[in-house]
């Protein structure tokens, strides 16, 4: 058939074009401008507004300093997917690696190997077991964030009650610390009882399932703390599905979908981190390390509590971006 020949040639051409399209859309090559650094940012997962906001912060700071940042991220928050990415990134010989590790143990060796290969490492958001070789580790004060989340629930329900934490996966330093801060605050308050921590594997539908099941079991839950963006999205969905009322949901992270849920009243408060600030400081720390200037080993960024009262006012800037 005549079309079969054109189809085949088109298919081969498409594969070739894909290769060259990559050429033009990607970096122009290594070290073309004398003295300009190339940083590689490996996100925890692609498509997450938290990391996208971080990327935006990095890119704006990079523009200021004359540095280029190349962003990569796996489709899932999964160390077996992140490790090959890190290895490939290292092969491209960036000057610095800015990375959000998906597992504190599994990513220890690959990130250390990157450092051994001469790449400066800055850990953003999540950390690894032994971050001593890294230039800097920059994250929000996650324990404080967890405490603040409990405070919001305690204020809304002065009589006390049962509370639940929906986290992501054990082994992720940030969400573990948020849960830790929350549970510690609950332990200090006699009126509240903790139902423990459930893991949603960074999938909103899993979080929704956990919440509906928990609400079936304990109808008197007064507060749920969702420890990250996807967990918060799923928790709000789950509460809505279960038709529960008078329940305070406090979510961590302030993506556009969560802000919608806040405005609609399904979620009562959001603890917004400052990912753009984390990104800016990461670029700055890496740049300082390469220029031989002073660096700070540990940086804690703050957070903003967004409620329906301040979402249109002071807290409008704290919302995460979905594109730069």
């Amino acid at each position: 058939m005549k079309w079969s020949r054109t189809l085949t040639i088109t298919a081969i051409g498409a594969l070739g074009a894909l290769g060259f399209a990559g050429c033009s859309s990607g970096g122009d090559g290594e070290g073309d401008t004398a003295g300009s650094y190339e940083f590689a940012f490996v996100q925890g997962v692609a498509g997450d507004e938290f990391y996208i906001s971080m990327q935006c912060g990095m890119e704006s700071k990079a523009k200021e300093l004359g540095v280029t940042v190349n962003t990569q991220g796996a489709e899932k928050f999964d160390p077996s997917l992140q490790k090959p990415l890190v290895d490939s990134v290292v092969a491209s010989s960036p000057d610095a690696l800015l990375i959000a590790a998906t597992d504190q143990t599994a990513m220890q060796a690959p990130i250390k190997a990157a450092n051994d290969a001469g790449v400066e490492v800055v850990l953003v958001d999540t950390s690894i077991e032994d971050p001593s070789f890294a230039v800097s580790a920059i994250a929000s004060d996650n324990i404080g964030g967890g405490e603040a989340a409990f405070k919001a629930i305690a204020e809304a329900h002065p009589d006390g009650g049962k509370v639940l934490v929906v986290s992501v996966d054990p082994g992720i330093t940030t969400t573990d610390q948020r849960a830790e801060g929350f549970e510690a605050a609950v332990a200090e308050n006699d009126k509240f009882e903790s139902l423990g921590v459930q893991y949603s594997h960074n999938q909103p539908d899993e979080a929704a399932r956990i919440v509906t099941a928990s609400l079936q079991k304990d109808k008197d839950i007064v507060g749920i703390f969702a420890a990250n963006l996807f967990a918060a999205e799923g928790t709000a969905t789950g509460v809505k599905q279960a038709g529960a009322e008078d329940l305070t949901i406090v979510g961590f992270d302030a993506g556009p979908a969560q802000v919608e849920q806040l405005k609609a009243g399904t979620v009562q408060a959001l603890v917004a981190q400052e990912p753009a600030s984390i990104g800016e400081q990461a670029v700055e720390q890496a740049y300082n390390a390469l220029e031989g200037e002073e660096t700070t080993t540990e940086i804690q960024t703050g957070f903003t509590i967004i409620t329906q009262d301040n979402i249109d006012g002071d807290a409008a800037d704290a919302v995460y971006q979905s594109s730069c």
């Binding site: 859309s25 290895d87 990134v89 220890q108």
Partner: protein, 362 residues
């Protein structure tokens, strides 16, 4: 299928019959195999990337990391090739890998110690648990006559759930140092990763079993036409159970190797492993309908997504393009396989490329 010798006045039937008798050079036969054509695609991709990023891509430092990361998948691909050649499928490999890793880690933690004694017990425990899952899959598929897709979909969930129950959802991070140092990150001859040498050994043994033993021959026969194989006297049920058990054992081995590389059971990981391995095996020329396949094709098919991802990351291409590219390669590979099957069943004598590029006569 061959260089036909056309005598004047020969119709299509006589051409086909003559075709069977006509001699075919080894080279032309080789040139038509799917795996060689896929290898050409892989080489083309490698050349493209080497031109695009000459300072980073074509270096041993980068190549050895690609090979190291593909090693565990290669072991899984060997098992999967056997399974798909029987016209079956195994979706549970990711979960069984995690489960085996968990069992090994728990056994090693209970034994204590950092040395080879503990490590070997852990390795055996992992392989045994993988074999147990393979037996489970095989028995249900053959005795209860449940389709492989459904059975392995079920065991995928059960294995992962059990792994989470055993650990309470918390990863075990105590792995004997000797495992991590000598297998996970150890090198032979200074730079060849030990884990890749192990994978190579598995691949070679797998290839010998599939292509040179009666067991392999029966595997192809079952995949080609299960009923005919049964009537000819092949013990189909036993062979199928053996195939799934083999896959299970290999998955168990992969589980302990993953443990040695990540130093943690990584229960949340391996989410896409099953589909990635199936993609690799299918790209490599193994037909999902069974009866056709090669181990070497699966390995070549495994390297295509790995090299694509590596090359794109080095060039700074957005991560989502990588998935687009792998999806395209998969569809093209299966299309080529379909064309070849249609050719073969029609008794045609032209190769795939000649068919695709030739104008239709009449």
């Amino acid at each position: 299928m061959s260089n036909s010798t056309k005598a004047p006045g020969m119709g299509p039937e006589t051409t086909a019959i003559a075709g069977i008798d006509a001699k075919e050079t080894r080279f032309t036969k080789l040139a038509r195999t799917q795996w060689l054509q896929i290898l050409i695609v892989l080489i083309a991709i490698i050349v493209l990337f080497s031109i695009a990023a000459p300072e980073s891509f074509p270096h041993w430092g980068n190549v050895r990391l690609i090979i190291q990361n593909a090693s565990i998948l290669a072991i899984l691909a060997v098992g999967m090739t056997f399974v798909i050649v029987t016209a079956g499928i195994d979706l549970s490999i990711g979960s069984v890998l995690v489960f085996s890793g968990v069992v090994a880690a728990m056994v090693m933690r209970a034994m204590g110690g950092d040395g080879w004694g503990t490590a070997i017990v852990g390795i055996i425990a992992a392989i045994l648990s993988g074999i147990a899952w393979g037996l489970f899959n095989g028995l249900i598929i053959t005795k209860l006559k449940v389709p492989p897709l459904i059975v392995t979909l079920g065991s995928m969930g059960i294995a992962l759930g059990l792994a989470q129950i055993l650990t309470g959802g918390v990863d075990i991070r105590e792995v004997p140092a000797v495992l991590t140092n000598s297998i996970g990150y150890g090198n032979v001859f200074g730079t060849v990763p030990v884990i890749s040498v192990i994978a190579l050994a598995v691949v070679v043994v797998g290839a010998i079993i599939l292509h040179r033993t009666r067991f392999g021959l029966h595997t192809f026969a079952i995949g080609s036409n299960e009923e005919s194989a049964r009537r000819v006297g092949v013990k189909v049920d036993r062979r199928l159970i053996a195939v799934y058990t083999l896959t299970g054992g290999l998955t168990g081995l992969a589980g302990v190797l993953s443990l040695s590389q990540f130093s943690t059971t990584a229960i949340a990981g391996q989410t896409e492993t099953n589909l990635n391995v199936i993609t690799a095996v299918v790209i490599g020329g193994t037909s999902l309908f069974g009866g056709i396949g090669t181990i070497i094709g699966s390995i070549v098919g495994l390297f295509i997504p790995a090299v694509l991802q590596n090359g794109f990351v080095i060039m700074g291409v957005q991560p989502f393009w990588q998935q687009v590219a792998v999806g395209l390669v998969l569809i093209i590979a299966v299309y080529v396989d379909q064309v070849r099957r249609a050719q073969a069943s029609r008794g045609g004598d032209a190769g795939v490329w000649r068919h695709l590029l030739a104008r239709r006569r009449g």
